[in-house]
């Protein structure tokens, strides 16, 4: 008899307060309902998400383990213990898609080493959606995560991004701590050639969603206030 290979489902959540039906396929709920074991970035918000997806889910019947920046690396493998006993596991992160910009990637790497089946589900990604909406090159792009905080390293990063835009036609995507969004735009207006294009995508899937692509010269003079609003930034020529 062939043994069943355990599945690790990567379950995206809504970005912010959005209704699940706006951004998650019905199939995700089917998968969620079939699972008894979860590894989650934050216990409280994962429970709230599950309840929002389906009020009839009995949270107390489910097993949760937390995986976040406080989890010691040697503990990560242990979190997959239920999979060794043949149980499927759902992975849920704080916002968006697990393992793309959060600790879930370490867990997936262990799951791959152990030979489990890893199954990503569809959900909202501000990286992908902002790229779609930017009008920039989607055949060649890089997501750089957070820019360096150190001023010199940050300038060097701007210049390297500009170089890759010009010479490789590569769209450059990056993020900033929300309370520094305005400052970042001002820095770009100062450091990046004014003929470049900057796209600022904010509150993706939210009620105030806005995706605006304009020349850097436009942003240098524009009135805006993106502070404390989740935003993602894209540069291209």
């Amino acid at each position: 008899m062939k043994e069943k290979i355990s599945c690790i489902y990567l379950i995206p959540v809504t970005l912010g307060d959005c209704e699940p039906g706006k951004v998650l396929p019905a199939y995700n709920l089917e998968v969620i309902r079939s699972l008894g074991y979860f590894v989650v970035e934050n216990l409280r918000s994962a429970r709230r998400f599950l309840k929002k997806c389906d009020r009839s889910i009995v949270i107390d019947d489910l097993h949760f383990e937390e995986l976040n920046e406080h989890t010691p690396p040697e503990r990560v493998a242990q979190l997959l213990h239920p999979a060794e006993e043949g149980h499927d596991i759902g992975v849920i992160s704080e916002a968006g898609c697990p393992a793309v910009a959060d600790p879930g990637a370490d867990l997936v790497a262990v799951a791959q080493r152990k030979g489990y089946r890893v199954v990503p589900l569809v959900g909202p990604s501000s990286i992908l959606m902002s790229l779609m909406g930017s009008g920039f090159n989607g055949q060649n792009f890089a997501f750089n995560g957070y820019l360096p905080v150190d001023k010199e390293a940050r300038m060097a990063k701007f210049h390297e991004m500009e170089r890759r835009i010009r010479h490789e036609n590569q769209t450059q995507i990056f993020i900033e701590t929300p309370y520094r969004n305005n400052r970042l735009i001002a820095e770009i207006a100062k450091s990046v050639n004014h003929s470049m294009m900057l796209c600022v995508a904010s509150d993706i899937t939210g009620e105030k969603e806005s995706i605006m692509t304009r020349p850097v010269s436009w942003w240098a003079k524009a009135q805006y206030d993106y502070d404390k609003i989740p935003a993602i930034f894209l540069l291209y020529k």
Copy 2:
């Protein structure tokens, strides 16, 4: 009276023969039902997709324009004509997410210049889903599109990707024409350091979906057949 700003909706489709409910949120259907104007990569498959989403949609009542590799650049702006008259437009590509690896990006760039609202909807992306499932770094990654065909340029690309993996911790993602998938894996086994990790993700969201991350040394000896199966490749350390 404030004029209504026209919306350009970017509407993802299924990858292959998958059921819409498995990979598309219910909200997408609401948007589709509200639209009378579409710009599509391929007329026949767009119609088939709309019928599959909702059999009650009367295709003959809808207006379609085609946008693909044969569309002259000067024609792209004209495709947005209905938006000038206040109509919202839906953009549908051949597979996956519009404007990420197809001609839709040019249309979106024009829509941005004209100041329309651009609204991407959620759907399946083999780039994002393979990254989630790979266990590789999701904080820093690049999608390179198709690798160069020319042998020397291809080798140079492998080495540059290896360099960015080692020195920038940047996951490298790329694709190949499906009938050359096996050859590409063999080339990687020959050209890339055997301690690197290669993830091959095939038939994403399909019945035979498989996402496998193994050392390049493993792939060098493995039995596989990915020819003619849509696949995407990721390299990391």
